[in-house]
């Protein structure tokens, strides 16, 4: 793992490498250089993107995009200590959530980015189709953000549907 990440910290200015809880490494990077970091990691053997996820940090007014990468080629070993998994984190401001799409490097990022666009409202530059993936309707606040009040929403949206007569009303 350390061998693979050697020299990365010098090559990227704002890069912060710290150990993660599961024994892997966590790479925090600026929004501007996330794509170049990802391609540098691909060159170093991290050729498999597990997933792209998003974390909402309402106090810091930021959304954190998380890319989980692993090295597919373990050198013939499947032991725990040889499993190289890195987590790349990059923060984007909440009020202007724009990031660069990673599709050029990993084609499988496409549905993840669509999902994040739909549920967190992050716009991905260079994504071919940011159309709705799961949801059928438009939400004022993207529903996975922390400031989306689900109970209030349920009360407002589903609470206004009246029971239909003929005795169905007693089961409300």
């Amino acid at each position: 793992m350390d061998r693979r990440l050697q020299g990365l910290e010098e090559a990227f200015d704002g890069l912060d490498i710290e150990p993660s809880r599961d024994g892997g490494k966590r790479l925090l990077v600026d929004r501007g250089s996330v794509l170049s970091l990802l391609s540098a990691l691909v060159d170093r053997g991290f050729d498999h993107l597990h997933m792209v996820s998003c974390v909402d940090w309402p106090e810091q007014k930021e959304l954190e995009l998380v890319y989980i990468l692993s090295a597919y080629n373990l050198g013939g070993s499947f032991e725990e200590e040889h499993r190289d998994v890195v987590m790349v984190g990059c923060r984007v401001p909440r009020n202007r959530p724009v990031a660069v799409s990673a599709i050029r490097l990993f084609e499988c990022a496409e549905p993840y980015e669509r999902e994040i666009h739909e549920l967190f409202g992050v716009r991905f530059e260079g994504h071919p189709r940011l159309t709705p993936l799961f949801l059928d309707r438009h939400y004022e606040t993207p529903p996975f953000r922390k400031d989306f009040d689900t109970r209030q929403y349920v009360e407002d949206f589903f609470g206004r549907v009246p029971p239909v007569g003929d005795g169905d009303g007693e089961r409300t």
Partner: protein, 184 residues
């Protein structure tokens, strides 16, 4: 055949036919569908009760809603329900169609199924065992006998209200109303 039921058979043969050959739509919502394969296959064998899955809603008269109903699924449920020939019976399976269950505060899951389509019976639980389906079926027999499983008639009677509720959450439905107006 049960000799005590001979009178019923002679008086209302169609109703007895409906009762003992419930064809359930192959339609799965949510997690409850996991209970249906063991119910219709050798372990519990729903055919003992005359319940058998039907490939198309146009050949079915029993609609099991087997779990939480998201807004997209609700649209499909309404379409399927409206395609079924009458008489048709709906049974809500699990706690989610009853009042939202564990999805009571979810932003995309409807809470009370009976506000959108009429429901004849509920099976409570999360998950109900396959036996509960058969308890529900035998209850449904009683209800059909007493003419109390009248969901499809309630749907005709209150169609305007049901349609208004459906459009309230789904927006424009994209197909014309099934019935002309209220009180048909």
């Amino acid at each position: 055949m049960d000799r005590n039921q001979l009178i019923k058979w002679l008086k209302e043969p169609a109703k007895m036919g409906h009762k003992y050959s419930l064809h359930a739509v192959y339609f799965c919502t949510g997690c409850g569908i996991i209970e249906v394969p063991p119910s219709i296959t050798a372990r519990w064998d729903a055919e003992r009760f005359g319940v058998t899955p039907a490939a198309s809603p146009r050949q079915a008269n029993l609609f099991l809603i087997t779990g939480y109903v998201s807004l997209k699924t609700l649209k499909a449920i309404i379409r399927t329900y409206e395609q079924m020939p009458e008489p048709k019976y709906t049974v809500g399976f699990g706690s989610c169609p009853i009042n939202g269950g564990m999805y009571w505060d979810s932003y995309n899951t409807i809470k009370h199924l009976d506000r959108y389509i009429p429901v004849d019976g509920w099976i409570a639980g999360c998950m109900p065992r396959p036996e509960a389906i058969f308890v529900a079926v035998t209850h449904l027999w009683t209800l059909i006998d007493k003419d109390m499983a009248d969901g499809y008639r309630r749907y005709r009677r209150n169609y305007a209200a049901y349609r208004a509720n459906q459009e309230m959450v789904l927006g424009e439905l994209g197909w014309p109303p099934l019935f002309g107006g209220e009180g048909e």
